[in-house]
């Protein structure tokens, strides 16, 4: 087998050194009833590289890819162009096949990259500090709620109706077990965000308010009054960013005084990948750093006085604190963080701002064109690269019909909020630099035909 270097003479010689006759002698501690005497029945035997490639390629061909269709899906995962050098660099074996940098003298590559990543993320989110990444945006969001509970010693979190429903669902699952109280609501198909309602709901038991920016329908609103209202009640404002490219065009949540800002970093470097692996971003104000979950990389000196980097503040973490840790998280999303960081380095501030401009301008033009389709209304007056349309009919069947025609038209709110009649006609459309004018025209024409 091509991945196994031992030869049979090697094995025999090694058994001799160990002092046993057969490999079975090394499994004597397994109770006899549980020992298998040969390969498990019903499973195929080993296969050549060529055969496996053929099998996997056949499965891959059964999917309609974003690159081969006019493509408008967003809602927490976005298609952006990733420069070729990103994927080349993350496949360098020294990055790809390294472990968590527990031996810093021979892991400075990963550690310096993490230090750079933390700085990039903190600056982008507008926070003082950021950690070395989380699994994804949805788990980062829940961890932020738990962190707010520890800081405020209060157990009620208020979740905006504009928060991604999967993120809400994750928080609800976890809260069932931790006993946190969550106030949640379903969004309405309207221009208005629920910021005023959130401000009105904050009380002395509130640990935090969680708001998405831009929100699930693509709406954006100034978070400053909400931050002020939180702070007046000694609650924290948690902002969730699922499209980090937006922060090249609009103010960051940190600049509006959010206390914890989390995000999904998939847009930069990572690609769609059917939902994972992605990379959770997690930043906060300096004063809360010791309550942060996840790994942190810090600057220090080596014995010869040279600058170097190490994992630090590990007394927050499970391998030191066990049941008293701030989180059970161990592995983060290192390689995706690297991809994010490389893409961000290639863009730089100038590139990020240009990219954001192109996204916004393209989205505005698409919104304009699509809202001219008879019966279609634009719900969201202000947005970055994603907006919501109200169709004259349920959007979900329309999306399915369009997919059959090779157009991936967006995310229907019926998919995200099944059973919510008031949302069923909503279609969330994302437009990025990968969307061409022809794509928009194709979608518009198809909609005109279907809705006629």
């Amino acid at each position: 087998m091509r991945y196994l270097p031992l030869t049979q003479p090697d094995r025999d010689a090694m058994l001799g050194v160990i002092g046993v006759a057969t490999i079975d002698d090394l499994f004597v501690d397994v109770p006899e009833a549980a020992r298998l005497d040969g390969p498990i029945h019903g499973l195929p035997m080993h296969a050549s590289e060529m055969a496996v490639e053929r099998h996997m390629t056949a499965l891959a061909r059964k999917n309609l890819t974003a690159g081969e269709a006019p493509f408008f899906l967003g809602c927490g995962a976005y298609k952006h162009h990733v420069p070729a050098s990103v994927d080349h660099l993350i496949q360098r074996g020294e990055f790809l096949t390294a472990y968590t940098p527990y031996q810093p003298e021979i892991a400075q590559g990963t550690l310096q990259m993490l230090f750079e990543f933390q700085t990039q993320v903190a600056r982008l989110l507008g926070t003082d500090v950021a950690n070395a990444s989380m699994y994804d945006g949805s788990t980062a969001c829940w961890e932020a709620i738990g962190m707010a509970r520890r800081i405020t010693k209060r157990g009620k979190a208020i979740l905006s109706s504009g928060l991604h429903p999967h993120y809400v669902s994750v928080a609800k699952t976890m809260a069932k077990f931790t006993g946190d109280l969550l106030e949640t609501a379903t969004p309405t198909l309207s221009a208005e965000t629920d910021l005023d309602a959130l401000i009105g709901a904050i009380d002395k038991d509130t640990s935090c308010v969680v708001v998405q920016y831009p929100d699930i329908l693509g709406r954006i609103a100034d978070l400053t009054p909400l931050a002020d209202a939180c702070h007046a009640n000694k609650a924290l404002l948690i902002a969730v960013v699922t499209e980090p490219v937006a922060l090249g065009a609009i103010k960051s949540p940190g600049e509006m005084d959010a206390d914890i800002v989390v995000g999904e970093g998939q847009s930069l470097g990572v690609g769609l990948q059917f939902g994972g692996p992605y990379v959770g971003l997690f930043g906060c104000k300096d004063k809360y750093v010791r309550q942060m979950p996840g790994r942190l990389c810090g600057e220090t000196l080596d014995a010869d006085g040279r600058r170097g980097f190490v994992l630090t503040l590990s007394t927050r973490e499970q391998h030191i604190r066990r049941e008293k840790a701030t989180s059970n998280i161990c592995t983060n999303s290192g390689l995706c963080a690297l991809a994010f960081s490389i893409h961000m380095t290639l863009l730089g501030e100038k590139g990020l701002r240009t990219l954001a401009q192109i996204n916004h301008v393209g989205a505005v033009a698409a919104a304009k064109r699509l809202s001219k389709v008879p019966g279609v209304e634009l719900v969201t007056p202000a947005f970055f690269n994603e907006f919501t349309l109200k169709l004259p009919v349920e959007a979900r069947p329309v999306v399915r019909t369009l997919a059959d025609r090779g157009i991936l038209a967006g995310v229907s709110l019926g998919r995200l909020y099944p059973g919510e009649d008031g949302l069923a006609n909503g279609l969330v459309v994302a437009v990025t630099e990968t969307t061409s004018a022809e794509d928009v025209e194709t979608l518009a024409a198809a909609l005109e035909e279907i809705l006629a």
Binding site: I40, G42, L73, Y99, I250, E323, N332, G348, E349, L352
Partner: protein
């Protein structure tokens, strides 16, 4: 005498010269690299865009889809009817700088290539980190994961447009269930610790459904991974330690004695972190079940038994499988991982959403909140946005298909053979606290007993770095003083292991003899020992411009 007018002649080096320090700090191929914040600037970008239309946060003017990408679409959009100059960014247009430096593409490639060379990876050499299963990462896995049919699909596409992707999830799920002899599997957990959480939440949901929600105790052996007690606490349980026996296994009698109506379950690692198979696992499972609890198995060490033992035959109710360990998906410098959880028949109804179901007509359905309905009323809910680590599923399935049922069995055998070979090659040099307990499984455990005064495991580890190896896991498990946990995996040749054994023997003898040069090792790495105390006392977690950094002091 010259051969030509340039003065060239074949080099005949003189031995014993002494080096001067270099101006750059570089040492030949060992290259220093500054931070991007020190070499880049905010005006540089390594990505070409055509001129983008101005973005002032006002009006619809000039909005052209695809503009700036070089596409010609000369018709400017008209102003919106009746909207005037609506502010489409809600007055939030960014006016302040962010401070993100950019590099040109060649500078970017060089920066990260130089950084990569300061890392040790499996590709470079032996990486025997115990409990981490640092095996070779086949590149076919990488190639398959990058097929556009897997890499370039959106998680919320209509399910009819992603049947191949759902097929991958289902095929991998079937393998995992069959290899473990279990009943169901939750595919969405993002990593091992997340899988532990999944299993514990399923246990809690099952207990609550039986009206047994008052059970608040999870028993965890002292030798467990730190994630076990952290997970149990995260899920709202109190953790109680179970002692180990002198031979390095769970104290079965103590565990059984502690069972009762307040115990929700146990979390046991098998093979355990001392490298031993828990012989009494079936007995323990039966006792836990008889007492009304459930058995969680930490599957971090599944590599030792894959294809030879099915955890389902040992009475396990839930076990996570680290795809990044047993099934060779890359560790990537700390993730992403993937931690599917196999479940017993008793726990399967309580697993999380979403999951993939194969229908009678061969069509794959995605069972989410909406479709769970009456068929899966006990599912405990969603753990993560979307459907799990697809990019890891494609890699793991590629690996599994390559090995097949026969190859995976050989994986376990070779992994265990390599570990025992190390154990027996070194147990006269180093103290093997459980060496008399029988064969080890896929990892060999030593202690720092017998080292010279003032010398510890870390000195051996740093000495191994100078010998060109990544050290073993240090100071874990906690039940052994100065623990050194060595996991060779099956992808090392005998020659590689022999070289490691020789190196470790030499370093260990130096530590026993009190060789002070070990205290300052590593001497040949990009950095000498780093000051972790300084890093924690005055945390510097982000880069600041030098002026600002000074002002902050």
């Amino acid at each position: 005498m010259s051969i030509n007018a340039s003065g060239w002649r074949p080099e005949a080096p003189v031995a014993g010269g002494k080096a001067s320090p270099t101006v750059t700090g570089n040492k030949g191929l060992m290259l220093e690299e500054k931070l991007i914040f020190e070499i880049g600037d905010v005006e540089t970008t390594g990505v070409d865009f055509a001129e983008a239309p101005p973005l002032q946060g006002r009006g619809w003017g000039g909005a052209v889809p695809g503009a700036g990408l070089g596409e010609t679409s000369p018709t400017p959009s008209p102003s919106p009817e009746g909207e005037g100059s609506a502010d489409l960014l809600a007055g939030l247009f960014r006016t302040t700088p962010i401070g993100l430096p950019g590099l040109s593409e060649p500078e970017t490639v060089r920066h990260y290539t130089r950084l990569s060379r300061q890392n040790y990876g499996i590709d470079l050499g032996f990486f025997p980190l115990g409990s981490c299963t640092m095996k070779h990462n086949p590149r076919l896995n990488e190639k398959m994961a990058r097929l556009p049919g897997f890499a370039d699909i959106h998680p919320l596409q209509p399910v009819d447009s992603v049947q191949g992707a759902l097929g991958v999830i289902h095929e991998l799920a079937t393998w995992l269930i069959t290899l473990t002899g279990m009943h169901g599997v939750a595919m969405s957990p993002k990593a091992g610790a997340h899988g532990e959480l999944c299993g514990i939440l399923a246990i809690r949901a099952a207990l609550e459904a039986k009206g047994e929600g008052h059970r608040k105790i999870i028993l965890v052996p002292e030798s467990a991974h730190g994630t076990n007690p952290a997970t149990a606490a995260f899920a709202g349980y109190q953790v109680e330690d179970i002692p180990a026996t002198a031979e390095g296994r769970v104290d079965t009698q103590a565990l059984i004695a502690r069972l009762g109506p307040d115990v929700a379950g146990v979390m046991i690692t098998n093979p355990n972190t001392c490298g031993l198979f828990e012989r009494d696992m079936r007995t323990i499972s039966d006792a836990v079940h008889a007492a009304g609890g459930y058995v969680y198995c930490d599957g971090a060490n599944f590599n030792a038994i894959v294809g030879r033992v099915r955890p389902g035959d040992l009475g396990i109710d839930a076990m996570h499988i680290n795809l990044h360990k047993t099934f060779s998906t890359p560790h990537g410098g700390g993730g992403p991982g993937s931690g599917p959880v196999v479940l017993s028949e008793a726990l399967s109804p309580f697993g999380p959403l979403p999951f993939v179901a194969k229908q009678a007509d061969g069509h794959f359905a995605l069972i989410e909140e909406e479709t769970a309905g009456d068929d899966h009323p006990h599912a405990f809910g969603r753990m993560v946005a979307f459907h799990g680590q697809m990019g890891m599923f494609t890699r793991a399935l590629t690996y599994i298909l390559s090995h097949g049922a026969d190859g995976l069995r050989q994986v376990a055998e070779d992994a265990v053979l390599n570990a025992n070979y190390i154990l027996r090659s070194l147990d006269t040099t180093l103290d093997a606290p459980f060496g008399a307990s029988g064969p080890c499984m896929h990892e060999a455990l030593f202690s720092d007993n017998g080292l010279a005064t003032g010398f510890s495991t870390i000195d051996i580890a740093k000495g191994l770095i100078d010998e060109g190896f990544h050290p073993m896991t240090m100071y874990f498990p906690l039940v052994v003083h100065g623990a050194m946990l060595i996991e060779p995996t099956e992808t090392e040749s005998k020659a590689a292991i022999d070289q490691f054994v020789a190196a470790l023997r030499s370093v260990a003898e130096r530590a026993k003899a009190g060789d002070v040069s070990l205290k300052s090792a590593p001497h040949f790495a990009p950095r000498s020992r780093l000051d972790e105390t300084l890093a924690a006392r005055k945390p510097v977690l982000v880069w600041k411009e030098p002026v600002l950094a000074q002002a902050a002091e």
